[in-house]
């Protein structure tokens, strides 16, 4: 072995030019793979951190009836199934020592309407208890205009991304109540058509929960404009409303609502007898004003819960049962530090099933669908890219080493003539490739690790939404785990062996007679 490596090493030095070509290829391949893995791992960690800590928690409880587990951004899919058993879910979660905090939320797609605009816009709507939301996600966004809704107050927080979307597609520029237009907050493309914008401090939304037949277009007073600290492109699709308004918007009516909130046009219809038909086309707005007091239980389809019994019909008068009796779509769960997801899922699902809650627990990555898989997808793309790079590297190395073998026919043939076996000759070439891989590939990995460690020190930030996705947040923070380095090492070993196989075969096939004939 020592003899093989000695000859291999001296041949590397003897053929410096070729060795350098192979070495540079191996260096670049290893460097790119290491840095690429670092970027992807950083992105994965960033996305996880931002989604888990800022938007979704570790675990999401969804209805057992929910078909698709992608409940984050599913524009074309079905609505999120309602959860009507939060009263049962809450004690289950409170009894789990692995759960740090939880938050029930309503979440569905809404159409954003504008009276003079034929084509509606779209936005996701989260219905939350604002105080509980702030405790669950204390620093995921900041309010750049307006304020948080006060306790018990109806209101809507509109993200900057959603506001820009409304401006671009509906010519609607949303400002908080008593706010003013701040041009500095407008993007360049919005400023270009500022004269066409209608400024409003409220937004009309219509819930899109399937099977609910929402009839109420709810006018939400905008209390604040929020800017997500990271991944605004993803989270910025979500406007946040108080849970009562959300339920009304989605048609999750309470019995009390049915009794007290018959729309005026319906009241007119009820009083039609003896009335002038022209009164049907009065000036009163058709949109329900969102000023009802909070509270009251809600169930889908206009049914009402009265003392936990569901009664159909809209003329029932009921006593409000409290916000927790109402409908949610999701329960977001934050786990205590260090609890493995597998353990958490097992325990939670068992407990939730035993309590007959009708919900199941899934991880944040499943719940966030393609967003959660983005790191995996990009890692796959990087892997394909690096594999292609390595394929090119293998071809170049194979070609260079094969040429080297043929150039050394006399030398190799002479070695064979004096007793060197094919395996010895092959071993020399494998040794040469292995030494080059160790030195240059190793240097590439070390340089990659150094680059990954140094990059965060520069605190590279981006406000560009797409770049933020690649960063996994607002700061570029690549990470390298032991597994990433091991994967790169394995790829390097694989490349070394593959690149050496054919030259080894060629060199081993050289006979003493070839040497004599060539001589």
């Amino acid at each position: 072995m020592k003899l093989v490596l000695t000859i291999a090493w001296r041949n590397i030095l003897r053929h410096r030019g070729k060795s350098l070509v192979i070495g540079v290829i191996l260096f670049l391949g290893a460097l790119l793979m290491t840095v690429g893995n670092g970027v992807i791992s950083g992105m994965a960690a960033g996305i996880e951190k931002n989604i888990v800590n800022g938007f979704m928690g570790d675990i999401v409880l969804i209805s057992e009836k929910q078909k698709s587990e992608n409940i984050l951004l599913d524009f074309m899919g079905q609505a999120i199934e309602p959860i009507t058993t939060y009263k049962k879910i809450k004690p289950v979660l409170q009894n789990q020592d692995i759960v740090a905090r939880h938050l029930p939320v309503g979440k569905n797609l809404t159409l954003v309407l504008k009276e003079d605009e034929a084509t509606p816009g779209g936005a996701f709507l989260l219905g939350v208890d604002f105080a509980a939301y702030q405790k669950m996600f204390p620093d995921n966004f900041r309010i750049i205009e307006g304020r948080w809704p006060r306790p018990g107050e109806r209101g809507l927080l509109v993200p900057t991304f959603a506001r820009e979307e409304m401006a671009n597609y509906m010519n609607l520029w949303v400002i908080p109540e008593n706010g003013t237009v701040i041009k500095e907050h407008m993007k360049k493309e919005t400023l270009e058509h500022i004269d066409a914008l209608t400024v409003s401090s409220n937004v009309v939304m219509m819930g899109m929960a399937s099977g609910m037949n929402s009839t109420s277009d709810i006018r939400f007073p905008v209390t604040g404009i929020v800017k997500y600290n990271a991944l605004s492109t993803i989270f910025g699709h979500f406007c946040i409303a108080d849970i009562d308004s959300y339920r009304e918007c989605l048609g999750y009516f309470t019995a009390a609502d049915k009794a007290v909130a018959v729309p005026k046009e319906e009241q007119k219809l009820l009083n039609l007898e003896g009335t002038d038909l022209d009164s049907l086309f009065g000036v009163d707005p058709l949109i329900v004003s969102n000023t009802r007091a909070p509270g009251g239980a809600a169930v889908p389809g206009g049914a009402a819960i009265i003392n936990n019994a569901i009664v159909s019909g809209s003329s029932v008068t009921a006593t409000p049962l409290g916000v927790e009796n109402g409908i949610y779509n999701l329960v977001l769960v934050k786990l205590k530090d260090g609890v493995p997801y597998k353990t958490a899922l097992g325990r939670l699902n068992r407990a939730l099933a035993e309590a007959q809650t009708g919900v199941r627990a899934i991880t944040w990555s499943k719940a966030s669908g393609p967003i959660g898989s983005m790191a995996l997808i990009i890692r796959g793309a990087l892997f394909v890219f690096v594999t292609l790079l390595f394929c090119v590297a293998v071809i170049i190395i194979v070609n260079t080493l094969t040429m080297a073998a043929l150039e050394r026919t006399s030398e190799l043939g002479m070695m064979r003539a004096i007793g060197a076996r094919k395996s010895f000759i092959g071993g020399m070439f494998l040794g040469e490739t292995a030494i080059l891989s160790s030195i240059f590939g190793g240097a590439g990995i070390v340089a990659g690790i150094a680059a990954v460690k140094l990059i965060p020190l520069f605190k590279i930030t981006s406000t560009n939404d797409m770049v933020q996705i690649l960063y996994g947040g607002d700061i570029f923070h690549p990470l390298l785990g032991t597994s990433d380095v091991l994967i790169t090492l394995m790829q390097l070993v694989f490349v070394t062996i593959i690149a050496a196989v054919y030259p080894m075969h060629v060199a081993g096939s050289i006979t003493p007679l070839d040497a004599i004939t060539r001589d």
């Binding site: 000695t6 000859i7 002479m414 004096i418 094919k422």
Partner: protein, 225 residues
């Protein structure tokens, strides 16, 4: 005792649509300790004969025994082992491993054999380098040696394994007459000291005076023995 026995050896080379008959039926026996020269003009078949004896080329027909083994029936691994353990080679031009120095080149076959200690290998290599007069060049690479010095190294390397036979294909062809004579003297001296059988080819009449036995070959047949 015969160290080489050849009977009815034929060697054909395909050349396009024709066949070149390099050896056309050779019968020869070489005794242990001989210092024999094969002479003949270019293309007569002397190199082919040496190559077949040295297990570098294969017979088309006939029997070739080296020691007591019929080499025409052996596989590549067995042939390689015979080359390593039984035969030493001195080639005309390509002889040494360029990346190894003199002593490493001489040690090379012993390191392949893997049956001696590092100390024993170094001791034997040192002795042979001394015998060929290159002690002061032991650390030199082949590129730093003259043609004659390289052939001396090749002789030392050919002898280092104590082979039964040393085959030398025109060992003086690329050397000036003085150096060539010195090499042949050295081979003869080694033959005397080590009792190793030497078979070498040449087409130089001046070389013949060193041989104790001369075999003439012409058109693939022995013409005089």
């Amino acid at each position: 005792m015969n160290i080489i026995e050849i009977k009815g050896l034929k060697k054909d080379y395909p050349l396009g649509n024709t066949v070149v008959k390099a050896l056309r039926g050779i019968d020869i026996a070489v005794e242990e300790g001989e210092f024999m020269s094969i002479v003949g003009p270019s293309g007569s078949g002397k190199t082919t004969l040496l190559n077949v004896i040295g297990c570098i080329d294969f017979a088309t027909e006939g029997s070739v025994k080296v020691g007591d083994r019929e080499i025409t029936v052996l596989n590549d691994r067995q042939i390689t082992d015979i080359r390593l353990n039984k035969i030493g080679f001195i080639f005309q031009t390509f002889n040494l491993i360029p990346v190894l120095n003199v002593i490493e080149n001489v040690e090379f076959p012993l390191l392949l054999m893997k049956n001696q200690s590092r100390t024993e290998i170094r001791r034997r290599a040192d002795r042979l380098i001394g015998e060929v007069g290159l002690t002061e060049f032991a650390e030199h690479r082949p590129a730093e040696l003259s043609g004659g010095q390289r052939q001396r190294v090749a002789i030392a390397r050919a002898l280092v394994t104590n082979p039964d036979i040393v085959l030398a294909d025109e060992p003086t062809a690329n050397l000036d007459s003085v150096t060539g004579a010195a090499i042949l003297e050295l081979m003869k001296e080694m033959n005397r000291i080590e009792k190793t059988t030497f078979v070498f080819s040449t087409h130089d009449a001046n070389v013949l005076k060193y041989a104790r036995r001369i075999v003439k070959i012409k058109d693939g047949l022995l013409s005089d023995n």
